[in-house]
């Protein structure tokens, strides 16, 4: 498949507007600007595009909700917080292909009749900030942004807003709070952002990759687009592969490529041809899979059937040498560090999980600790305010489900000495 999202990122000047235009950039905008907003939304609906941020919500549907709300102004927010450990798929777009995102947002802005757009960029990507702001300046110059886009009297202004180190701000309502200059804690839903988001106005939050697919849909049409990859969840997908593979990196492949193909065909297999032990398929919040269960198509509907989730498509590969209790502990430390502190089970429960895992990992484990881990995770799961806490619980549960023996061994050693 011809890469689209990562088209010509090998070109050292790929971030420059003229280079982008050379390879057909902003043609989609020129086309879309003459379309009726509602037609664009229908096109996106037909394309079957589903959000790439992790939840996989149908994008066209989300847009139509916001479009249906009479409140004005409307806002379009690009979620560039990319905080899910293992995920680094948005970065090449932000740093090497910023105009694709800008074009996607300009089109989306027109579709939603939103006059303002914000790119909420994680603080950990300072370079991307400069690149984006440079690209935005160019786009204003050439009339792809501003009060009169391409002379068609359409108005869309775009700003970069820098986060400051909070994974939770990737969650869309926390992101909006943060955009409003507040502590990044999730909001109660309903009301949903599409009705009361930024400054209580209709707001669409979409992932970088999602928005970058829009120009593609406009260019080749929903028809053609929907034929790419999985039937019920089409389009190109960016998979970020890390860990013990020969060629880690970001791969643009048809949605639904199996884990096996990703790891062995595209990434050249396991580093040093060691045995594979485990894979986290969709970023750290998604359940871990044992190394022998790789025949699963990586898309939103299929993965749950195989005991995990697509998440952000961040594949983390662990070879036989890896101590998974340690990995589990590190993952939980991450969730503890990122818990926003709003709700009880996540704020208190995840810290408790950590303390149990610490003692197991440091050879202080006790009889019954595994059951306790399961019990505490159960008490967190499904009771938290937002999915972050659930993530922590699922991690522990999946690690114990598939690799209980590793936990047991550590405890046995401890108890025997």
């Amino acid at each position: 498949m011809e890469p689209f999202l990562l088209k010509n990122i090998s070109n050292p000047n790929s971030a420059d507007l003229s280079e982008y235009v050379k390879t057909g950039g902003y043609a989609a905008l020129a086309k879309a600007i003459d379309m009726k907003p509602s037609d664009i939304i229908d096109e996106v609906k037909k394309s079957g595009l589903r959000g790439r941020g992790g939840a996989g919500f149908p994008t066209g549907m989300k847009w139509s909700f916001a479009a249906a709300d009479p409140k004005k102004p409307k806002y379009l927010v690009c979620n560039a917080d990319e905080g899910e450990p293992g995920t680094f798929k948005d970065r090449p777009i932000l740093e090497k292909n910023p105009h694709l995102l800008i074009e996607g947002m300009a089109i989306s802005g027109h579709a939603l009749q939103a006059e303002y757009g914000y790119i909420y960029l994680r603080g950990e990507y300072p370079k991307a900030k400069d690149i984006l702001e440079g690209a935005i300046a160019q786009a204003y110059e050439k009339g792809y942004l501003g009060d009169n886009i391409l002379g068609k009297g359409i108005r869309f202004h775009l700003y970069v807003h820098q986060g400051a180190g909070a994974y939770i701000c990737g969650e869309e309502t926390a992101l909006i709070e943060s955009l409003e200059g507040k502590r990044g804690q999730p909001r109660t839903r309903p009301p949903f952002p599409v009705n009361e988001g930024f400054l209580a106005k209709p707001t669409v939050v979409n992932n970088v990759e999602t928005l970058s697919n829009i120009p593609y849909i406009i260019t080749i049409g929903a028809e053609a687009y929907s034929k790419i990859g999985s039937a019920d969840c089409p389009g190109p997908k960016l998979y970020s592969v890390s860990g013990h593979v020969k060629k880690p990196g970001v791969y643009e492949l048809p949605m639904g490529t199996t884990l096996k193909d990703i790891i062995y065909d595209h990434c050249g297999g396991i580093l040093g041809d060691k045995k594979i032990k485990a894979v986290i398929p969709g970023g750290i919040s998604t359940p871990v899979l044992p190394g022998d269960k790789l025949n699963c198509p990586m898309d939103f509907p299929s993965m749950p059937k195989h005991g995990s989730m697509l998440g952000s498509g961040a594949v983390m590969v662990f070879d036989e040498s890896v101590d998974l209790v340690k990995v589990c502990l590190r993952a939980i430390k991450f969730f503890e560090h990122e818990s926003c502190g709003k709700c009880t089970p996540c704020r208190e429960g995840v810290g408790w999980l950590r303390s149990i895992l610490v003692r197991i990992n440091s050879g202080q484990g006790r009889e019954g600790d595994i059951d306790l881990l399961m019990e505490v995770s159960k008490n967190i799961l499904g009771k938290t305010f937002c999915p972050l806490g659930d993530g922590a619980a699922t991690v522990v549960q999946s690690f114990i489900k598939h690799f209980r023996n590793e936990f047991e061994n550590k405890i046995k050693e401890a108890v025997s000495v």
Partner: protein, 873 residues
């Protein structure tokens, strides 16, 4: 109509509410922690998780609204397990020091754990450590007990609008902190204490002094500090007040209090309280018996009356005393002593302003429920900072402001800084010009409609003055004035809140006319802020030189006759003297004796120097009070009376609401009304009241406003003006009133000069509050507020001393520097003996209303040698 089923029980609802509220309707209790009826839903603690059919996840009852046909279960095994789990989680970082914690016995978490909770905790590792903070004089912060419900922070932000505390950090390291990390330096409303479900924030006033179950008595009564009249329960043990607690849904304050109300009560337990009557013998006050004191007073007053007539005697009533006290006082003065020379500090601004507005719009025009502010679509405030004079009323302004309603603030009102849409800071004492311009402009946008009224005539006579001209005089950019007019012309039922400072002016009467015009044009509702708890009561009870109980002019024969019949005695037909005139009368030797009940004339009347001199020339001065204040120190006889919490009676607040005061504790001293009755009887005018109830019964007969009124009526709540009686239909008309002339309006104030203004501190009202250890621990020092431009010029920093001199006197005070103070104005409070603003003020009257005029008093400010940074909060 919505139908929901909770635990197989069908509930029908008019409008969608949360599951929690719906369950309440059905009498089903769902446990909660982060939820509080006074705050917006939060959904953090997860204790209220319930099962909702068709929804896979458990849902928080406090946030989810019911929909038609919804089926909810609150006691399934799944729900109960979740609850237990949440409690177990909460206990992980919650210090289990209940035996030592003040909250034990009234702690939500404790109760919930007892009811639902795990019996043992399985968390083995160490808890979060966080030393208890004693950095603040009032609030102890124990973050090892905090459960991050954020109720205090939401109260402080959403309701109080002080935003003095916030949650800091994230994860389980989250805790509550004021900016400094130590001292709160906030408004000290203490409303955070009300909402904390655990012992994380505790009042230092009674820390470790009691257990909730030690409280012997709970008495609902009314606060004694300001004219809002907040309701709270006094909790006491023996004759000591342990604390006062408000309750959501009760009183005008609906669960809220300000610092004075919540912490200031302790003045009643002050060791400085008067204990026994005193008579001046050989120049010194000496303790004596009540009977001797009564006899002595009666005999003295008798002789003075015989030698010089009743008009040689004057009386000062009290806005801190009850209606019952004040009713008996005026009866005593009129009937027993034959004098109409009766007034109080209410006569300085509240009464005359109300009188004038009454003449224009009809009696009772200022009687408006405070709750109405929240319903108005605009607010206009002038003449002081309502958030410090009447704090709980101020909260209503902040509330509407947060809903985006335009709030126009004229003059320096720091408490509304963040809440004003238009903040106008005119040059000192040029408000009249500003008002004239606003009225002129608004008349263009909203011309007077309807049939010609007498007042319409008067408004018509106003020579129109332009925003540009006003801008010249007031030093406010035309843009700002235009924006203000724009906002005002958009409103249809604004609240207009008027403070003392705008009335106590040489031109106060014309200013009131302009305000009335504004109210007329905007269809506004008037609120007169009132610094004391019973100013309205003084008016209603006839503690005015020209008014009888029920606000009936003494000069009108029919009213006088009716009164005389009831009291079975003759009273002088001519109106008496107001307080300022009384003092001049003393100076002129026309007044020989002064009877002061619960007022500190020597301190609370501007021009202290003059007043003190004059008072010491009296033949006979009687003071009835709870403290030996500056006035009492000059008295010939001093009588200890009872404080607000030690007697029954009633107050009438600024909205014209009569409220029942109940006796909470015992005290040394006698009710003011009883003292007067004793003396009256000895003067041959028998007064036989058994209790306050008897007095009220008489009021109910005598006053046409209070027909048949009783404490039951007040306890019923809505006992609003005109109570059960009828107001006076037409008070003597408004002819003779005239708008200010162009010349005076266009007069610019001299930029080279500095003028003194009166600051109204949030933490002290005056005579009582300075005896409150608690309030003094927050702030007891005098100070002067100066603008940064002056500070720069004098090279003084915050806390440095400056010396202030007026034609009258000189004071050295620490300076508080504010960037946003209006040019040419320095603000000094009048709340510390010998170091208050009134010491600096000369004796100056508004010739028309015979009230103090505090405008245009020049002051020279110089850097003082004393450089100790005695910091005034």
């Amino acid at each position: 109509m919505i139908t929901v089923t909770i635990n197989e029980k069908q509930i029908k609802l008019e409008k969608p509410v949360t599951i929690l509220e719906a369950a309440k309707v059905a009498g089903i209790k769902i446990p909660t922690l982060c939820h509080h009826e006074m705050l917006k839903p939060f959904g953090g603690c997860r204790l209220c998780l319930v099962e909702v059919e068709k929804l896979p996840r458990l849902q928080t009852a406090c946030t989810l609204s019911v929909t038609d046909g919804m089926v909810v279960r609150t006691e399934t095994e799944r729900v109960i397990d979740a609850r237990k789990a949440m409690l177990e989680f909460l206990l992980i970082n919650h210090a289990l020091d209940c035996p030592y914690c003040d909250k034990a016995g009234e702690c939500d978490l404790q109760d919930l754990v007892v009811k639902y909770g795990p019996t043992t905790g399985r968390f083995a590792e160490g808890k979060r450590k966080h030393p208890e903070s004693y950095d603040d004089p009032i609030i102890v912060r124990n973050m090892e007990r905090c459960i991050s419900c954020t109720r205090c922070v939401r109260m402080c932000n959403q309701v109080q609008g002080a935003s003095a505390i916030s949650m800091v950090n994230r994860t389980s390291k989250t805790y509550v902190e004021p900016f400094s990390g130590g001292r709160y330096n906030c408004e000290y409303c203490g409303n955070c204490l009300t909402v904390c479900p655990v012992g994380a924030i505790i009042s230092r006033l009674h820390k470790h002094t009691y257990r909730p179950w030690f409280i012997e008595k709970n008495v609902d009564t009314i606060c004694s500090f300001c004219g809002v009249g907040c309701t709270f329960t006094v909790q006491s043990r023996g004759d000591a007040i342990i604390r006062v607690v408000p309750e959501a849904g009760k009183g005008v304050n609906n669960g809220l209090l300000c610092n004075r109300g919540r912490f200031g009560y302790d003045y009643v337990n002050s060791p400085k309280r008067l204990k026994s009557p005193m008579i001046r013998k050989d120049g010194v006050l000496q303790e004596t018996t009540w009977s001797e004191a009564f006899a002595y007073i009666a005999q003295q007053l008798k002789t003075i009356k015989e030698q010089h007539g009743g008009n040689a005697i004057a009386g000062v009533a009290s806005a801190r005393c009850t209606n019952e006290d004040n009713y008996v006082f005026q009866k005593f003065m009129r009937v027993a002593l034959g004098s109409n020379n009766i007034d109080s500090v209410a006569g300085f601004a509240f009464a005359p302003a109300q009188r004038l507005f009454g003449k224009i719009f009809g009696q009772g025009v200022t009687a408006n429920p405070i709750s109405g502010i929240a319903k108005s679509d605009g607010v206009f405030t002038i003449g002081g900072d309502p958030t410090s004079v009447n704090p709980v009323l101020g909260l209503q302004i902040r509330a509407v402001a947060q809903q985006g309603v335009p709030v126009v603030t004229v003059g320096y009102a720091a408490g509304l800084r963040r809440f004003s849409t238009n903040r106008l800071l005119p040059a000192p004492f040029t408000e009249t010009t500003l008002l004239a311009a606003l009225v002129s402009e608004l008349l263009k946008k909203k011309p007077l409609s309807g049939e010609k009224s007498a007042f319409g005539e008067i408004i018509g006579k106003l020579q129109s003055i332009s925003l540009a001209e006003a801008s010249e005089v007031c030093g406010i950019p035309v843009k700002e004035l235009e924006a203000c007019v724009e906002n005002l012309s958009g409103v249809t039922n604004p609240s207009v809140i008027i403070g003392r400072d705008i009335i106590q002016r040489t031109d106060g009467h014309t200013t009131i006319l302009l305000l009335a015009a504004l109210v007329h044009i905007l269809n506004g509702r008037i609120y007169l802020s009132s610094e004391l708890p019973n100013e309205q009561g003084l008016v209603d009870m006839g503690c005015l030189p020209d008014m009888l109980p029920g606000a009936r002019p003494v000069a009108v024969e029919s009213f006088r006759k009716r009164y005389e019949e009831f009291v079975k005695g003759e009273i002088p037909s001519a109106p008496g003297l107001g307080l300022m005139e009384i003092i001049e009368g003393i100076k002129a030797k026309r007044i020989k004796a002064l009877y002061v009940m619960g007022e500190n004339v020597a301190f609370n009347v501007p021009g202290q120097k003059f007043v003190k001199e004059v008072l010491s020339t009296l033949d006979f001065l009687i003071v009835q009070d709870i403290f030996l204040n500056e006035t009492a120190q000059r008295a010939h006889v001093v009588l200890p009376s009872l404080s607000w919490s030690e007697k029954e009676g009633s107050y009438t607040n600024l909205e014209g609401r009569m409220q029942h005061l109940r006796k909470a504790i015992g005290g040394q001293g006698i009710e003011d009304w009883k003292i007067l009755a004793e003396i009256s009887t000895r003067l041959g005018v028998a007064m036989q009241y058994r209790d306050a109830q008897d007095v009220l019964a008489e009021i109910a007969k005598v006053s046409p406003l209070h027909k048949g009124i009783s404490y039951e009526d007040m306890d019923g709540g809505e006992c609003m003006w005109p109570y059960k009686g009828e107001p006076l239909r037409h008070d003597a008309g408004i002819e003779g009133l005239s708008m200010p002339d162009m010349k005076s309006l266009l007069k610019k104030s001299d930029k080279s000069k500095l003028y003194i203004g009166i600051d109204k501190p949030l933490f002290h009202s005056a005579s009582q509050s300075r005896h409150s250890a608690a309030l003094n621990s927050i702030s007891s020092k005098p100070y002067v507020k100066i603008g940064s431009s002056i500070a720069k010029r004098l090279e003084v920093a915050d806390g440095d001393y400056v010396s202030l001199s007026t034609e009258t006197d000189t004071l050295e005070l620490p300076a508080l520097v504010f960037a946003d103070m209006p040019e040419g104005l320095v603000l000094v409070p009048n709340n510390v003996e010998e170091r208050g603003a009134f010491k600096l003020l000369p004796w100056k009257l508004n010739a028309v209303m015979k009230i103090p005029a505090l405008d245009g008093i020049e002051v020279t400010v110089t850097k003082s040698e004393r450089m100790t940074a005695e910091v005034a909060a």
